[in-house]
Each structure stands twice: as C-alpha cells, then as structure tokens.
Symmetry: C2
Subunit: 426 residues, 2 copies
C-alpha cells in the first residue's frame, strides 16, 4: 500500500505553524508497513483540495486527510473531497442527533452552523469522534488501478490521536494481514555520534544498514532498529537487534524506551536507591534543577538547589572557600567540587551536583574559552567525581550540554557499574 497525507488549514500555510499531525499518522502507517509517498499542506480551498485529491488517487491507494471538518464556512474539506469524487453531500440525521446530544451534555443548544458537520459524502462510512463534534469519514473506492481509500479526520491533535487508535490502526491491521513494521529505540547521552557509530558498526553488517538508524540530537543519540514482516518473525528480529545494540553500546544506553528522558531515568535510579540529590548551579542557571523537577514525583528524591551567580553567595550558601574562588576563579575544578560538596551538605542529600562554566557569549578568555564547563558530583560519604568539558555552540546549547552531562555522570554513578564508576570517581 502507498499512502499520502494531506493537511488542510490556511493557518498551516502561514509563517508560524507547521503541520505536526502528519507525524502521528506517519507513525501509524509505519507500524503497518505502509509506505508514505507524499505529504501536502493546503489552505481551506475547495478547488485546491479537489485538485490534490484527484491527482493523489492516480499515485497512491490510501489518502489520509486532516483538518477542515469544523462548522464554519471556511471548513470545506468535505466539499473538496466530494467534488474530487464527483459525489454529493447530504445531511445525515443520525450524525446530526449525535452532535446535538453532545451539546446537550454540556447544557448548550447546538448553534445552527454545526449542522454542516452532519453533512456526509455520499457512500462514506461515518467514523465516530469520541472527543469532538466533527465525525470522521472513510471512503472506500473501487478504481481502475485497484482499491483505494480516503480517510477524513479532524485536525485537533487529541481528537485525531484517538481516531488513529480507534479507526485507522484496526483498518490498517486488517489490510496488512498482520504484516507490520516495528521499531525499538535505544538512547545514549553525552557521547558523540561518531563514537556510537563505531561502537555499533558490526550491527550494521549483521542486520543491514537500512535496519538501523542513528539519530543525533543535542547531547543525545538515538539508535533506532526497525523490523518488518509477520509478527513472530518481526519480534524475533527486533529482540535480536535490541540485544545486539545494547551489548555493543553497553551501559552508555540509558533507556530502551523511546519516551523516557534522561532526567526520568536518573530520577528512577535515585528512587530505587532510596537516594536524594541537590544541585548547585552557576552557568546553567537552574536548568539542571528544572529538568530534575520536571518529572512528576521528583520530590521523592530532589530536595533542592541553589543558583549562585556571585562569589559571595557561593561562599555563603554553599560554603565554597573564598580563597578557592580568589585563587582559581569561579570557573575551575576546585570550585565545582566545592559547590557539589556544598549542595550535598546544605540540603543533607546523598548526592550533590555542582556546575560552573562559561556559557557565553561573553565572559570567555584564552584560558577559559566560552563553552568551558566544570561538572562535579559529591556523595555524602565523601567521594567526588569531576569532569571538565568544552562544549560547542551558543549559550543555550552550552547550558543544555552541561545539564545533560551532569545527569549522565549521575546516572553512571547510580548504576554502580564498577567500570564506569571507577573511571569517573577520582
């Protein structure tokens, strides 16, 4: 099956918004092994919609349309698709009563304009929308080139998401006869892409280059292994790739769950260990604390943090000796270590993290150029780890890298893997 996605809405042709719905649809197509050939974005123009649908039906056999099903005059998706097929539209009394009932449930009368949403293209199957007034439609077409189908979905993201699960996926599963594609994602923090690529090179040979994708983000690498084919075969292949990649990348993999963030994983490790953490930040300005506390339930292990932009406060709040600041400057290994120990002491936590650096664009020097960051971790029992980094990029990237590496250092320590811990503690 070959598919195309059409997003409709004049606001999607402006300078501010992108069609993001197509990513959700693409994921569903991907899971069922359907090849996406094209995405299109059109304004609310009946003529443009009709022309596009007509042209697409000569090239693909599945068209997924989102948006333009609302009640107002500029919502013309139904009209455009009907025109493309040379079909009529008529009011469906059952759909109408469903919409009226929805309004009654909120103790409101249905505005007259909403009658438009009960108009159904002749021959279409109505797809219920659990969260909104606009139902979806499916058109099953018998064509010269074979069968084809068009789905019309609302553009509201959470309505679309529900309808993908309830309407599209079962339909795709029935058509693909249980044949589908599935992926597994392994995430790695704090290593360059080239290092990861080298580590896993033999998996390319074993499973084929097209099965494994490396996606590099800021301070983070995703390894995505994809398997296609019948379910049993697919599961075996996917498990084999996952195990092979995990073995090759070792404990640099912080999660095998695509939805997990590094701060979530670190938080889970802290909770498992019954340990607590506090932060002392300079150049990251609270970013590390903010990431740690972005996780629901983080009060189980995060007790607090301090952001200090001045020498005096580093001394007063964190107990960093004034002599240390005078001798080495705020951006230095001894100060990072003293900040980490100070955070640990000030909040009475098992671990303390200290970050001090030059985020830029100003403040750099020959000895300490912009991007220089010292990260230290201290434990309540007196152990200490330190790393000095030189991060590339602008202020925002330097700060992000620093928070990312601090989290990764903490993760490695919590993992208790002797190899990496020994390398880290010193």
């Amino acid at each position: 099956m070959r598919a195309a996605i059409v997003a409709i809405g004049s606001e999607l042709l402006g300078t501010e918004r992108l069609d993001t719905n197509s990513l959700r649809l693409t994921a569903a197509l991907d899971r069922h092994g359907v090849e996406l050939r094209k995405k299109a974005v059109l304004g609310d123009s009946e003529e443009e919609i009709a022309a596009e649908i007509k042209s697409l039906l000569t090239r693909v056999d599945l068209v997924l349309v989102t948006g333009g099903l609302g009640p107002t005059a500029d919502d013309v998706t139904r009209q455009g698709v009907a025109a493309a097929l040379g079909r009529g539209l008529s009011l469906d009394p059952e759909v109408l009563s469903g919409i009226e009932q929805r309004f009654r449930a909120y103790a409101r009368r249905m505005p007259e304009v909403n009658r438009r949403q009960a108009e159904v293209i002749d021959g279409a199957v109505v797809l219920p929308n659990g969260s909104g007034t606009a139902p979806g439609l499916r058109l099953d077409l018998r064509q010269a080139g074979g069968d084809a189908a068009i789905f019309l979905f609302p553009g509201v993201p959470h309505e679309l998401e529900e309808m993908i699960a309830a309407q599209l996926e079962p339909w795709l599963a029935a058509r693909s006869g249980g044949i589908a594609r599935q992926s597994v994602t392994l995430k790695i923090a704090g290593l360059p892409e080239s290092v990861v690529e080298e580590q896993i090179a033999s998996a390319y040979e074993e499973f084929g280059r097209e099965s494994i994708t490396i996606l590099a983000g800021a301070g983070e690498i995703k390894l995505i292994a994809t398997a296609a084919g019948p379910e049993a075969e697919r599961a075996v292949l996917l498990a084999a790739m996952e195990e092979r990649l995990a073995a090759l990348a070792g404990d640099t993999v912080y999660t095998r769950n695509a939805d997990d963030t590094l701060e979530k994983v670190v938080g889970d490790l802290l909770r498992q260990a019954g340990a607590t953490v506090a932060t002392a930040e300079s150049c990251t300005g609270g970013l590390l604390a903010q990431r740690l506390t972005g996780i629901a339930g983080s009060s189980d292990y995060f007790l607090g943090g301090v952001v200090t932009y001045t020498h005096a406060e580093k001394t007063r709040l964190l107990g960093v000796p004034a002599e240390l600041l005078a001798e080495h400057g705020a951006v230095s290994e001894p100060v990072a270590r003293a900040m980490a120990a100070g955070a640990c002491r000030a909040f009475g936590t098992a671990y303390g993290a200290g970050i001090t650096g030059v985020a830029g664009p100003g403040g750099g020097s020959a000895e300490k150029p912009v991007g220089t960051v010292h990260i230290a971790l201290a434990s309540a029992d007196g152990r200490m780890a330190h790393r000095r980094y030189r991060f590339p990029g602008d202020r925002e990237r330097v700060r992000w890298f620093a928070s990312q590496l601090a989290l990764e250092m903490l993760r490695r320590l919590l993992l208790g893997n002797p190899g990496s811990v020994e390398a880290l503690w010193k």
Copy 2:
C-alpha cells in the same frame, strides 16, 4: 503571483522530522505579497518529483524546491525537475571549478561524487551558494498560462537562509514592483485571548479583520498586524495599526519586537533600573531562574536563586518561619511572601520572587487543587505583591504559566506604571 513549496528528502517523510525550511520561504513570500497555495513533501524519488512539478505548474506560477541537491546517488531533485520539463542535464565547467576550488580551500581533493553537483538543467540560471557545494538553480519558463519560475535550493537551513536573502528576495522584489507585505508583532503575557480580543476589538473594525491576527500560545498572546501595498503607504498603515493596537492594549504589551522574549524584556528593565533580582522557587523547580539566566549578560542583574522542595530548607535558606509553614502549608500566600522576602534578603537584591504551588499531577487537594500557584514579589524597601493563580494543564504547562506570570508581575512593577503597580502592590 501564486506559489508552492516542495521539500524533498525521504527523512522528511519519517516519524521524526518535519520540513521547517518552508517557514523561512513562507516568510519571504509573505513579505513580497506572494500567496502560498500549497506545500508538499516528497521523498528522494525522481518520478514523484517530476509528477509533482508537472502538476504544480498547472496551478501556480512560482515553485520553490528545497533539498536533494547533494552529491550522493539518492539526491535526484535536479533529475526530477529536468524530467518534468523534458529538459536535459549537462555538466557546467564553471560550476565544477567552483566546487573544486571550495574543496581546495579546505586542502581537500574533491571526491568524484561531487561532480554530480555541477550538473545544470538546460537553460537554468545558476545561483551561487556561499556556504555549501551545491549551487541553486532558477528556471524561467514561458508557459501557455503566463510566465513561471522554479527555484531549486539546498536543504541545509543556513545555506537556504543565505540564498533566500541573496537570490530569492531580490528576485521577488523586482517582480512585485516594490509591492510587499509587512507585519508588526506585539506580545502580551499573562492575559487570556478573550480579554485581549475584547481590548482590541475596535481595531478590527478600523483596519479590517484580515489585517490583524491574534495568536495564542501558553501564557502569551501575539497580535500580528499586516499591511500590504507600496512601501510608503504600507509604512503609514503599519505604523497606524501598531499605534492603535498599542494604545488599546496599553502596558500589557511587553514588546513590539517579534524576537524579544519576556525574560529579555524584564532583564532590560532591570538593567535600566540598575536593579537586581533573586528567586525562590518551589513548584517551578528552577524554571524562573533558568529563564532569567538564559539571557546573555543576565549576570548584570540576576544574583542567584534557591529551589527548595522541603519545609526545612525553606526555613534554613530563605528564613521562612516554621510556624507559617505549619499553619498555612507550603502552598500558601504567607509562605510565597516569606519566600520572596527571603530571596531578596539572602542575595541582597532589589527584588525577590517567590513561587510555591501544586504543579501536579499528584499533590492536589480540594482546597489546593493541582494548578494552584502563589506568586509573590518583594522589594528591598519592604513592598510586597502577591497573586494566587489556578493554572490549567499538565505539570509542564502549570510550571510554564507560573514562570510566565512571575516575569510579567516583575515587568509591571519595573515599568513603574502607577495604575498597574498600585493594583499589584498591596
């Protein structure tokens, strides 16, 4: 002129990436009053590219293509466009020597594959690329329906951006005869869309509903006024709209510069006033400090912050009386006020901000449901402001709203507008 944008690259049809280049192209089209009718995303398929270009030329007179100009075998944009036009491709010696020279400048020999990038569609104008090896191409077509043009640009964002400025904009300006569209953006924080809409309703009548757009984001509203027409006329209309909107919205407008963030504006006001600020955060977990310090040069006015997740540390680091915490709980007006005053005192700043609330998803109660946030500001001279909010949404949104409203409260105080300051200080 009617335009379409085509982004080419199989990675843009996957589940991870979106075509964002089109936003830059759209902005350029918009400035020159060219109507964008359609955006399309295609994989690296010569056949699909050829079919799309052919179909577009029947519907628009300007096609902007990005991507697929690289040196490898899967880069087939040139081939696809040539096929659509029934034209040939031939190696351009001048382009080739330019590419070779580029490699020499980096002391490298040109790989053989890069010869492909010197292939030019017959009759095309070569557009120099200052930052990459792939030159752009422009095809001027004389068609039955009138003149048309196709631009081929590289997909690398910074190369594209340079070429938009150097190649596309001058061409558009020449064609539009100095007629263009221009926008001005006013930004407002912390007010609901409906309130802003009511405030500026009379501007709709005065300038026409299509000239003014309200765009609502999280805790932030953008008012975008757009004027079209010859330069002099446009400038007068734009200035009139800007002044009218600014007058109607009053000092709720925090900037008239689309690129300014709220934390940037607050920082500038602090610097102008020679004032300093410190933060005391609970539910926002450092987000306010992080936003304030995200601005280059923030060390001029930001001295530090504390994140306290426990009663004990609120007392020890910020001097919040233990009785207050016992009597009212951490999420309360008295504690927020004591935190703000404590931050001010602990860091010796002119202003202190205190935030305490229930970000969720857990921790809510009937009396203090999820989303309840107390924000307080204290000044070194003993003044105090407080607001209690109930923010909608998940943990991330509640935290964002809280930081946004804290910044907006601080901005109003710093503005010294008696009306709003009196309403706020109490």
